[in-house]
């Protein structure tokens, strides 16, 4: 038996993979299967799940209301989440790219420190950082009082901004949360660019702007693609940010799912919403990666 194991290399590899596969099956495959099964179920009056096969939950999500009327509440939530994810991703790219470029151009020792500075905020708890944004954005918060103080110095009238709770606050929170996940992959792809290519571009007469558009930007696209996937997909599903910064008024798909499970006690409907969210995310990611290629920095970052 042992002798056989010593000779059979693929058997050895299989054995090494067993723990990983057990975790994957136990924590991914089984829960996902249960979600799909539940999504075809119904709930009884006490909120217990009855396992049947009905498409009712899906019809309701797609706008065909319970009494046969048209109800686009859930489609609106879905579209709002998608639109917020698009906005977040674009803003995050615009903020992350200059910083990643700055770090990549810095001398080696300084670059390590700058990268470290990007990572430090991640060590603080996610929810605490979002609460800090509440303290900044609320009407009597840090931002408004600082601006009011500055306006007082300059003798200009100042009306405090009504930023919290709002969809704008949710957007700020999302951008803040996912910025590091864009900076790191872009930095990784920028750093891999061979400096000889810049010299070549200069030798061929390209100025710095042209070099950026023709050399740097195209070669750093894998990082942007990876960062986009790391940002866009979680933003659609996150519910904590919108819960806290939206003051429970901005409802995203994540909040919908969470409330169906915890408040409304309707797991089948929540499961159907999760399945739709999952399918949508998969479809978008597939389309995006087919179109722009897979950012291999997703692993490196």
């Amino acid at each position: 038996m042992l002798q056989k194991l010593r000779e059979n290399r693929s058997l050895q590899g299989m054995l090494l993979l067993i723990p990983d596969r057990l975790v994957m099956i136990g924590l991914l495959v089984i829960p996902l299967t249960m979600t799909v099964i539940t999504s075809f179920g119904q709930r009884d009056a006490d909120g217990n799940v009855i396992y049947t096969f009905t498409l009712e939950n899906y019809w309701r999500l797609l706008g065909f209301g319970e009494e046969g009327g048209w109800d686009d509440l859930y489609l609106t939530i879905l579209l709002r989440s998608l639109w917020l994810a698009v906005q977040t991703t674009v803003i995050v790219i615009l903020m992350a790219y200059p910083l990643a470029y700055f770090i990549a151009r810095a001398p080696q020792s300084a670059a390590t420190f700058y990268l470290f500075l990007v990572l430090v905020p991640l060590w603080t708890n996610f929810i605490i950082r979002i609460y800090a944004w509440v303290m900044i954005l609320r009407t009597q918060g840090v931002l408004n009082s600082s601006l009011g103080w500055a306006a007082g110095l300059l003798n200009v009238p100042f009306t405090p901004f009504d930023l919290y709770p709002s969809q704008g606050a949710v957007l700020i929170g999302m951008v803040y949360e996912f910025l590091p996940f864009m900076i790191l992959p872009i930095f990784t792809s920028l750093e891999k660019i061979d400096p000889a290519l810049y010299e070549a571009a200069a030798d061929l007469g390209a100025n710095s702007i042209r070099t950026f558009w023709r050399v740097t930007l195209p070669l750093s696209m894998p990082g942007v693609v990876a960062g986009t996937i790391l940002t866009f997909v979680p933003v659609i599903g996150t519910f904590v940010v919108s819960d806290i910064l939206g003051g429970r008024q901005v409802i995203l798909v994540g909040n919908l799912v969470q409330r169906q499970f915890l408040d409304a006690r309707n797991p089948p409907f929540g499961s159907a919403a999760s399945v739709i969210l999952l399918l949508l995310t998969l479809a978008l990611t597939l389309y995006y990666t087919r179109r722009f290629g897979l950012g291999e920095e997703i692993v490196a970052g």
Partner: protein, 162 residues
């Protein structure tokens, strides 16, 4: 990268992004010395009890629930790191050192991003591709495996190592 020329605009925008990243953390630190309980307005530095300005920190260490939560967090963090490291190392070792029939590999979601990366880029920027594969050799295995699978030149060389 070339560090001789750096535009002041680039430095400025990098600085602004850092300000954005650190603003909430600075606010948290400042408010941890707040005299007010409600944390809406900063009413000056606390100066209460034997701890003076560190009043809230002392309260924290005196709070039994907080201390217990900290202990639970540490226990869970250490155990999950322990098991994740073992399971992850075994899996990484398996995927790096051993070859599998194609079928087994296809089901592996974790590898998906890495598998076709080299192949796709190869047709566009051969130079960058070469550098990337050199990095791959020392880094994660799946990239190297993918190269062998697609039968590129670099992949052939890598195949000998497997």
């Amino acid at each position: 990268m070339n560090s001789t020329r750096r535009s002041p605009w680039l430095t400025l925008s990098a600085l602004l992004v850092y300000v954005f990243l650190y603003a909430p953390i600075v606010v948290l630190v400042v408010f941890s010395f707040n005299a007010s309980r409600t944390n809406i307005v900063f009413e000056g530095v606390v100066n209460q009890g034997p701890c003076g300005p560190f009043y809230w920190y002392c309260q924290l260490f005196r709070n039994r629930d907080v201390m217990e939560a900290t202990r639970n967090t540490l226990v869970i963090a250490l155990t999950s790191t322990f098991f994740a490291t073992i399971i992850g190392t075994l899996a990484a070792l398996a995927l790096q050192r051993y070859e599998f029939p194609r079928q087994t590999r296809l089901g592996d979601g974790a590898l998906l991003p890495h598998r076709h990366a080299g192949d796709r880029d190869g047709h566009r920027h051969p130079g960058a591709l070469q550098r990337r594969f050199q990095l791959d050799q020392h880094g994660a295995g799946p990239g190297a495996g993918a190269a062998a699978e697609h039968g590129h030149g670099h992949g052939d060389r890598l195949a000998h190592r497997l």
